[in-house]
Amino acid sequence: MTEARPEPADERLVAAARAGDDQAFAALVSRHKARVFGMAARFARDAQEIEDLAQEIFLRAYRKLGAFHGAAPFEHWLSRVAVRCCYDRLRKRRREGVRVPLEELELPAAPDPGAEAAREVLEYGLSRLKPAERLVITLLELEERSVREIAELTGWSEGNVKVRAHRARQALKKVLEESHAW
């Protein structure tokens, strides 16, 4: 009877990838891509942008593999890279003035909106917030991360995260109320 070989630890795959083993990096990607795609989907507008963002996250992780020292699990380190990438994407989009137009929305008629309609309304509102506000709302309310986790992911202090989250909620409420989008 053949015994199933245990999967190599992330740290071993990272070491192999740093030594030039592309298959080791592919194994890392395969192991963590679902989580990265999930996060990218919260910030991207369509399937193409999800793919672009996911590629950007893994390429940046690959270039920075030398900075991974194993102090925290690889998954946490990758999450920080992913958050940074998503934040950069939001800032780039802000510079380009990309916003979801109100006319494209299918506004929910019911008081409790359906999931897809809610996502569209939220996308409309979030696209009008500052990048840091959108980031903190997305991580806190949609990804359901704790304040401490967000502080670790972004490098902000916990107090700073709380303040930003409060301001972001106020800004989002104002945008939605002014647009009559809900």
Partner: protein, 98 residues
């Protein structure tokens, strides 16, 4: 507050609307490694660095231009110009007898 309740309901509904990325994930490793190989090619590296160095080269060109302009000798303290002017005067004096 009523607005907060509505916001909470909106968040709760949006949390349930996670797009299905299963199809996009199919073959992702292959596409990513292909892009990685393209980025590693010397020509791609050269092109990337050329673009990145454009601001540095532009700043260098500007600095050289400023330095060149500042270092240009004025008409009064250029020894070559003074010698040429003296020579012209001597020549004119010789031919005119003045």
């Amino acid at each position: 507050m009523p607005g907060d309740d509505r916001l909470e309901r909106l968040f709760a509904a949006a949390r349930a609307a996670r797009p299905d990325t299963a199809r996009a994930q199919y073959g992702f490793e292959t596409r990513l490694l292909a892009r990685l190989r393209v980025e590693r090619e010397p020509s791609a590296l050269w092109a990337a660095w050329t673009w990145r160095l454009i601001p540095a080269f532009a700043a260098l060109a500007l600095a050289l231009g400023v330095w060149n302009y500042a270092a240009l000798p004025g008409p009064d303290n250029d020894p070559a110009a003074a010698i040429a002017a003296d020579f012209d005067r001597e020549l004119v004096a010789y031919f005119t007898g003045k």
